[in-house]
């Protein structure tokens, strides 16, 4: 009798050891990569103006989107509406900005320019074709009513995002 009980207990213990947690792991690589190809520089053509335009002595920044999956993302690029760092400014600043397609890896991407949506100081582009596309955001700031900018360093930020559709 004792032997039978001992045997049943052993069986129960061995059945409990069969249970195991199975782990499933996975990595998702980004299918949309943003890279700053060129940082911008503000030119100061007149005392009250800062501009990235080449004609104004500035350098237009270039931001590159590498898209692996076509039609899955949209590029959202926001031009500056304030300085991230600057001398103390006590007057109003008037901001202008735009984003254009500067270089494509597929001729069809050229349609991004005509199909872009613009609101406030933000431009949206549907990335419908896989490949690389470069955008050129421009920025222009005018201080007060013909008021000279105070001397010092000025910094502004262009926000480039890749948002899944």
């Amino acid at each position: 009798m004792f032997n039978k009980i001992a045997f049943i207990m052993l069986m129960t213990a061995s059945l409990g050891a069969l249970a195991e947690d199975v782990i499933i792991r996975g990595n998702v690589a980004s299918k949309c990569v943003i890279h700053t190809d060129r940082a911008g520089v503000y030119g100061n053509p007149t005392p009250d103006t800062l501009s990235t335009a080449t004609a104004d002595g500035g350098v237009t920044p270039v931001v590159r989107y590498d898209v692996v999956s076509a039609g899955s993302y949209k590029a959202v690029i926001t031009t500056p509406s304030s300085f991230s760092s600057s001398p103390i400014l006590d007057d109003v600043i008037s901001w202008e900005g735009s984003v254009s397609v500067s270089e494509v890896s597929d001729a069809g991407m050229s349609a991004y320019t005509t199909n872009k949506r613009v609101y406030n100081n933000t431009s949206e582009f549907d990335l419908t074709i896989a490949g690389t596309v470069k955008f050129k955001p421009t920025s222009k700031a005018e201080y007060g009513y013909g008021k000279p900018f105070p001397g010092g360093e000025y910094r502004a930020i262009v926000v480039a995002e890749c948002i899944a559709l």
């Binding site: 397609v101 500067s102 270089e103 494509v104 890896s105 597929d106 001729a107 069809g108 991407m109 050229s110 349609a111 320019t113 005509t114 490949g131 690389t132």
Partner: protein, 255 residues
């Protein structure tokens, strides 16, 4: 393509990278073809088309992988457009790799190549030393012709007065021997020369063991100055004084 790609074998094209800018009206049709002829046959080895019809002009930068096509297949390339529009700032780049193992007409220098062969420089063939003579060389007996060997043996056997002549004969034979470059013979000559150093046997002189004490002793415990040295010192001092006076007087006269 001969003036575009390096003129070496083992070259393969991995990618074609082209850039150009298009200026056109959006509604106009415009097609751009980038292509290369097949140098080994008819048709094209590479073709890519960009259709700008209904699109605004822009700058394109495109990389197209071609998976390592042998460079010999690549004929002349061109960027051809059709429609209404214009192309500017065009460039076409071929990305290639070179397989050093696939070179033809030149020796393979990469040791990792499967067809690598060791190439030895031309080395002049030296006369082979007969094996039967090698033991003779080791035992300080130079290689000689059979006739000379017999003559030499006769001279060496002579009891006295002829050894010097025999030694000179050995030296002469060694100098004339064509095996002078042999290491064994060179060693034999070196040992022979070592035996001819005068009083060489003194180098092997052995001294008896024990303590060798100083045997020089000062008899009365004094070491007086030598008279000869004193006279010599006076003479030098006198001469020095004369020379100084001579210089002084000559300077005085000059002034």
């Amino acid at each position: 393509m001969a003036n575009v790609l390096p003129n070496v074998s083992g070259l393969s094209i991995n990618a074609v990278i082209y850039r150009y800018s298009v200026e056109k009206v959006v509604s106009d049709p415009f097609i751009v073809d980038i292509q290369n002829k097949n140098a080994r046959g008819d048709g094209l080895i590479f073709h890519s088309r960009d259709d700008w019809s209904g699109l605004p002009g822009n700058r394109i930068n495109r990389v197209i992988g071609v998976n390592g096509i042998d460079a010999s297949y690549w004929g002349d390339g061109e960027i051809r457009s059709s429609g209404i529009g214009s192309i500017s700032e065009a460039s076409l780049v071929y990305a290639y790799t070179r397989d050093s193992c696939a070179e033809t007409g030149v020796p393979i220098v990469d040791t990792k190549c499967p067809n690598y062969k060791i190439t030895l420089p031309d080395i002049p063939v030296l006369p082979v030393i007969p094996e039967v003579l090698i033991p003779d060389l080791i035992s300080d007996k130079p290689y000689v012709k059979e006739s000379e060997e017999v003559e030499l043996s006769k001279e060496l056997i002579k009891p006295s007065g002829k050894k010097g002549r025999a030694d000179s004969k050995i030296s002469k034979i060694i100098t004339q021997n064509s095996l002078i470059n042999s290491d064994v013979l060179q060693k034999a000559v070196a040992f022979e020369a070592l035996n001819n150093i005068p009083k060489f046997e003194l180098y092997s002189f052995t001294m008896n063991g024990g303590v060798y004490r100083d045997t020089v002793k000062l008899q009365d415990g004094k070491l007086p100055d030598g008279r000869r040295g004193l006279v010599n010192t006076w003479a030098q001092e006198e001469l020095h004084q004369k020379m100084v006076d001579l210089q002084y007087n000559s300077n005085k006269k000059g002034n």
